[in-house]
């Protein structure tokens, strides 16, 4: 294949991508069924087109692993960029996504970058780049939880600092809920933080946290001490959820619940020894 053919083909890929944002049938077919055709020209397409192709590549088959040709191109543009350039990249890309599938593809790319060592930042730094000081309406809750979970797993001490910081309190309640769930799913909840969660001003946050805890009890050796922090919870949703899903040995501690539905569930479970 001549050099000029490669360059003209790369121009064609650019033209198709820029006019269709990856929705063109032919380019989708090529990326899906004959990615090797595109891979030969990756070095010749511009960055915008490259990232659109990468998103498309991952979107059309999320189980794909990037081969050396994608990595080579990624390395050329990402590996040595400085912090502010990376920030710009994240922000620019992130803010321009209007559709969920685009956002999903973007986050998959970010996670691939990290997995392949193209981004050397810690998960906490990536988290900060993506989510810190971001308005709620541009935050993808699902991906927030995913990235936060990876960050918490990587650095549990920092996770504790973060959850107990004063900045955390000022976050939108839905965002706080996502963080608590990520925190609990990593087995990081301690009695002090559990107490703080119990005292959450938002019922939704406390409820989501308790649900996550009940779903991940096997991660906690001393689940009794942690659950005891919620025994005097006032939110009715939490009382009902605990009455329904807490281990049997915890039920007698809950007899003081004032919610009638929770009381009824407790009564039934105690009678039937469920």
């Amino acid at each position: 294949m001549s050099e000029s053919f490669k360059k003209v083909f790369a121009k064609g890929v650019e033209a198709v991508i820029q006019n269709s944002y990856g929705q063109d049938y032919d380019i989708r077919s090529i990326v899906k069924y004959y990615p090797q055709l595109i891979e030969d020209y990756l070095l010749d397409v511009n960055n915008f087109v490259f990232f659109e192709l990468l998103k498309l590549y991952l979107e059309l088959d999320s189980g794909r692993i990037l081969n050396e040709k994608w990595i080579e191109k990624l390395s050329l543009h990402i590996k040595d960029v400085n912090r502010s350039e990376l920030d710009d990249f994240y922000l620019h890309r992130y803010r321009n996504f209007g559709r969920t599938d685009e956002l999903d593809a973007f986050f998959e790319v970010v996670i691939s970058f990290k997995d392949f060592g193209i981004i050397n930042h810690s998960w906490f730094e990536i988290h900060d780049n993506l989510f810190q000081n971001r308005d709620y309406d541009v935050v993808s809750e699902r991906w927030l939880r995913k990235i936060a979970s990876l960050a918490f797993k990587e650095n549990p001490n920092k996770a504790h600092e973060f959850i107990n910081s004063s900045d955390f309190k000022s976050l939108h309640y839905k965002i706080r809920a996502e963080y608590y769930v990520a925190f609990i799913e990593n087995g990081l909840l301690d009695p002090t933080t559990a107490r703080k969660l119990r005292s959450e001003s938002s019922e939704r946050v406390a409820y989501e946290g308790v649900c996550a805890l009940l779903n991940n009890m096997k991660l906690y050796d001393d689940i009794k001490t942690i659950l005891l922090q919620f025994i005097d919870a006032k939110h009715s949703g939490i009382q009902v959820r605990l009455a329904r899903n807490a281990p049997y040995f915890m039920l007698t501690y809950m007899l003081g619940f004032d919610n009638p539905i929770a009381k009824q569930i407790l009564e039934e479970r105690l009678l039937k020894k469920l």
Binding site: S4, V8, K11, G12, A15, L37
Partner: protein, 79 residues
């Protein structure tokens, strides 16, 4: 032509369509391509813009007109 080949030449044609209206280095790339890759051009012809066809004809006044006509391609009509 196989499906994959068709798609490849469709993309190539899109590249040529874009390059034909550019200037400088890209224009030179376009001119070099139409001069040296007649076979690839023939395969892409169905997706080329009329403007590209005209430019191809203009830069190959003698041969290309004959070549197009002998291939019986519809684009020959624009000559």
């Amino acid at each position: 032509m196989e499906e994959i080949e068709k798609r490849k030449y469709y993309i190539l044609a899109r590249g040529l369509n874009r390059l034909s209206v550019s200037v400088g280095e890209e224009k030179r790339l376009f001119e070099e391509f139409i001069k040296n890759n007649p076979q690839d051009l023939a395969q892409s012809l169905d997706w080329l813009s009329e403007e590209v066809i005209l430019q191809i004809i203009m830069s190959n006044k003698e041969n290309f007109r004959e070549w197009l006509l002998s291939n019986g391609n519809n684009h020959g009509e624009v000559i």
